[in-house]
């Protein structure tokens, strides 16, 4: 069979070309390593965000300003917040602008005096000021929650005093002269061991679902994504070689041999397919070795999805090349489609959040179905039953595009 011979020869030639190898293998592996460095902390048990740089400007002389300081420097928050204490609010705010700090908390002067009731039981309201970095999206929310919780604790203390007093006032006639000891009683109660405003009677037990599974592995998401993304590029590039051969007249020379044209075209397309298959398999194996990526429990399932993904991608590459007027046009269309499909099809971020027209567009890409199939195996540890839909869709895309490409090339070259 001449087609097979041509396919093998083409595949070998591509794997001997170091520039092609950079695009096929080195680039995806390098970016994977980068992503691993950037997002590696998501996979550990530690909180993904830590050491939030924050400053406390405490202008209050009283005990409440001190309470904020005590909580923020407590051991519980030590890994989450890197706190510094300073006196110059404006300087601290300037350091948010220069990107050094994520948040600045200012306790105004006279804060304790305002909110703690005086001897007559009168008290006022006050605000602490929290300035956050607009360039950050997550850490300000965390800092705000913490500051609000400290404030809520102190509020509880203040309100407990206030409510205790208010509730007993209607019974003053019953208590008579005893009422004079009210302030003392409230003070004693608030300082008793029973009242600990740091201790919550309601607490959370955070459970990551599927505890027997392994924790989130950024590689298990990004490496399949990158593998599919770079596969698309090399499939378009491989398909283009047929136009290149036409330009160099080697294709015409091949056609003057007794080998039937359809065999030559099939061989060329088969070569691209084989190259893609090898590229993907090398990426699977090397990522498993280098980054310890777990490609799931179903080797057969993985093989099916990989073969069908490469089939669909090489079919699409061949079809768009067949429709292109010349090599240059094929190159522009190929790169554009690879990039757009990568972005839409979930090679860079999970498609879970997509809705409406973007979700529909996403489902029109090879990448989306390939990712659905691969993630069912790598992230969700599924089996054959979980990849049926993506497998069927990929097979249909492959058959249709391969068929159309074969027909179009035939028409183009048989004159």
């Amino acid at each position: 069979m001449k087609a097979l011979e041509i396919a093998f020869k083409d595949t070998l030639a591509r794997f001997r070309d170091w520039k092609a190898l950079v695009g096929m293998l080195a680039a995806p592996l390098m970016i994977s390593a980068l992503i691993g460095l950037a997002f590696g902390n998501l996979s550990s048990d530690e909180a993904p965000i830590e050491n939030i740089r924050m400053a406390l400007v405490n202008l209050d002389d009283g005990e409440l300003g001190q309470a904020y300081e005590d909580v923020l420097t407590s051991p519980d928050l030590q890994s989450l917040i890197a706190l510094e204490i300073t006196e110059d609010a404006e300087a601290a705010k300037a350091r948010i602008e220069s990107g050094e700090l994520r948040a600045v908390l200012v306790i105004p002067a006279g804060f304790s005096e305002t909110v703690i009731p005086d001897n007559e039981g009168d008290s006022g309201m006050a605000s602490v000021e929290l300035y956050t970095d607009p360039a950050a999206s997550v850490s300000p929310i965390i800092v705000k929650s913490i500051v609000e919780r400290i404030s809520a604790s102190i509020n509880t203390l203040l309100l407990a005093g206030q409510v205790s007093g208010d509730a007993i006032v209607p019974y003053a006639p019953l208590l008579g002269a005893e009422m004079a000891t009210l302030g003392e009683a409230i003070g004693a109660e608030l300082q008793s061991e029973r009242f600990d405003f740091e201790e919550l009677t309601l607490s959370l037990e955070t459970i990551a679902t599927g505890e027997d599974e392994e924790p989130f592995d950024p590689f298990a998401f990004f490496i399949p994504g990158l593998a599919v993304f770079f596969l698309m590029f090399s499939m378009f590039e491989g398909s283009r070689s047929i136009l290149q051969e036409e330009r160099h007249w080697t294709l015409q020379r091949l056609m003057s041999t007794p080998t039937p044209t359809w065999q030559i075209i099939l061989g060329k397309m088969g070569g691209t397919f084989l190259t893609g298959l090898l590229q993907f398999i090398v990426l699977v194996l090397s990522s498993a070795l280098l980054f310890d990526v777990n490609w799931g429990n179903s080797i057969l399932g993985l093989l099916i999805i990989v073969v069908l993904t490469v089939f669909a991608a090489s079919g699409l590459g061949a079809m768009l090349t067949a429709f292109s007027r010349n090599e240059n046009q094929a190159s522009v269309v190929g790169s554009a489609v690879s990039l757009v499909f990568g972005a839409l099809g979930g090679s860079f971020f999970p498609t879970d959040g997509l809705t409406g027209i973007i979700n529909i567009a996403s489902k029109l890409t090879v990448n989306r179905w390939a990712m659905d199939g691969l993630l069912a195996l790598t992230v969700e540890r599924g089996g054959l039953a979980d990849i049926q839909t993506p497998a069927v869709v990929l097979a249909v895309i492959g058959l249709v595009t391969f068929g159309l490409a074969l027909m179009t090339f035939q028409k183009r070259f048989v004159k």
Partner: protein, 409 residues
């Protein structure tokens, strides 16, 4: 004067051939726009532009007492949360489908425990693949739990004070249960006006700080930086193509000096780079409402500095590789890591400390910083000068190295 004329003509020639080619528009405009849109939506979902991110939380309430529903109301009132009470089966299904990533269970005994002063633990189930949102949601849920348990604590304190004063042994005094109930209601009313409030303010000089769509403030400058690098580096390295095709040698036989030839080429690439970045800025402003336009001077400084820096980088790359065919592979190996490490691919905030420090050693880190300072912090010319200055410095180093190593033959 003659050489300057040559230089300008070569620059003009570059611009003419670049913009005659239709693929320029695909690479320069269409692709970055698709990426900006899709990734912007991907990062932020379709949330309204001026809303902070919110998370859905499913709540299964098995508590028949008053505090279960109170807790749900508190959760829903939190600006970062949207709480919905569901049956266990419904909630499980949503977790399974990924429609919600957090599930809070309120145990049957919560209200009675609260009244008895006994501790209760509430299971909070989070989906493992979204640790960031889980962290934020956990803090918000804790705040709501706190509010509810605080009202009980206040009421209990009030009861203890009355006991301390020996109220209940007196004639005409209410029962302890009555007194506790009254105190609880008083506590809930009192909680509506908290003595201490937290005034939170994003520190930006922009007038309308709520108008910043967070997804696009990352993807608009991010994709602009990344795609402009491809565009400009390819442009600068096209001089290699001229060397290989022999047109460079032909140019060298003309009276034009080497400096005029190379300078003209680079000037053309630089101008095309400025046009390219400016186009993406305009589209970012018009289509995605990214506030690019509030300080034209700062923006102009950043665009010019960035285009200069990357043009020089392209020149250096052209000097370091041997053939034009290598450019494809080399530029990918160079630009993608630069974009990723500099914060153009994802927000720099979410990477570890040492990675954030690495970004400050890269031109992309300074480019992202300068551009984001304009659109997020509302910086003017003086404030972005350090970022622009760093880019010019990088550019000068690249340019000197590039000119030194470049071989004309």
């Amino acid at each position: 004067m003659k050489q300057l004329n040559n230089l300008l003509q070569i620059a003009w020639l570059y611009l003419y051939t670049t913009y005659k080619d239709r693929s320029t528009f695909i690479w320069g405009l269409a692709l970055p726009l698709v990426f900006t849109t899709v990734l912007g939506v991907g990062i932020q979902g379709f949330a309204a532009d001026d809303e902070p991110p919110t998370w859905n939380i499913a709540v299964v309430n098995q508590d028949a007492g008053p505090f279960g529903s109170q807790l749900i109301a508190r959760l829903d009132a939190h600006p970062s949360l949207q709480a919905e009470a569901l049956s266990q089966a419904e909630a499980d299904a949503r977790m399974e489908d990924g429609e919600t990533s957090v599930l809070l269970q309120i145990p049957a005994a919560m209200s009675s425990n609260l009244e008895a002063g006994e501790p209760t633990r509430l299971p909070l189930l989070t989906r493992i693949n979204e640790p960031l949102s889980a962290q934020v949601v956990e803090q918000a849920v804790l705040a709501a739990l706190f509010d509810v348990s605080a009202s009980v604590q206040i009421a209990n304190t009030s009861l203890q004070v009355a006991e301390r004063m020996d109220l209940f042994s007196r004639e005409g005094a209410p029962s302890q249960a009555e007194y506790l109930q009254d105190s609880l209601e008083a506590a809930q009313t009192a909680q509506e006006t908290q003595p201490i409030t937290v005034a939170t303010r994003q520190l930006t000089r922009l007038d309308e700080q709520a108008d910043i769509p967070t997804g696009f403030t990352q993807t608009s400058p991010g994709n602009m930086v990344m795609f402009s690098m491809f565009f400009i580096v390819y442009g600068a390295s096209s001089i290699l193509l001229e060397r290989e095709q022999g047109t460079l040698r032909r140019l060298l036989t003309t009276p034009a000096s080497k400096l005029a030839i190379l300078g003209g080429k680079l000037l053309g690439v630089f101008i095309a780079g400025v046009v390219q970045v400016s186009l993406l800025v305009i589209v970012g402003q018009v289509a995605f409402n990214v506030p690019w336009g509030q300080s034209p001077a700062a923006l102009a400084a950043m665009i010019v500095a960035f285009a200069f820096c990357i043009t020089s980088m392209g020149m250096l790359l052209a000097a370091l590789v041997r053939t034009y065919a290598q450019i494809d592979a080399m530029s990918m190996m160079l630009i993608l890591p630069l974009a990723g490490l500099g914060g153009a691919m994802w927000p720099i905030e979410i990477v570890p400390d040492f990675m954030q420090k690495i970004a400050m050693w890269l031109p992309t880190g300074w480019a992202m910083r300068g551009f984001q300072d304009i659109i997020i912090r509302g910086f003017g010319l003086t404030e972005v000068l350090p970022s622009a200055g760093m880019l010019v410095l990088f550019g000068l180093v690249f340019l000197v190295l590039g000119l030194w190593r470049f071989k004309y033959e």
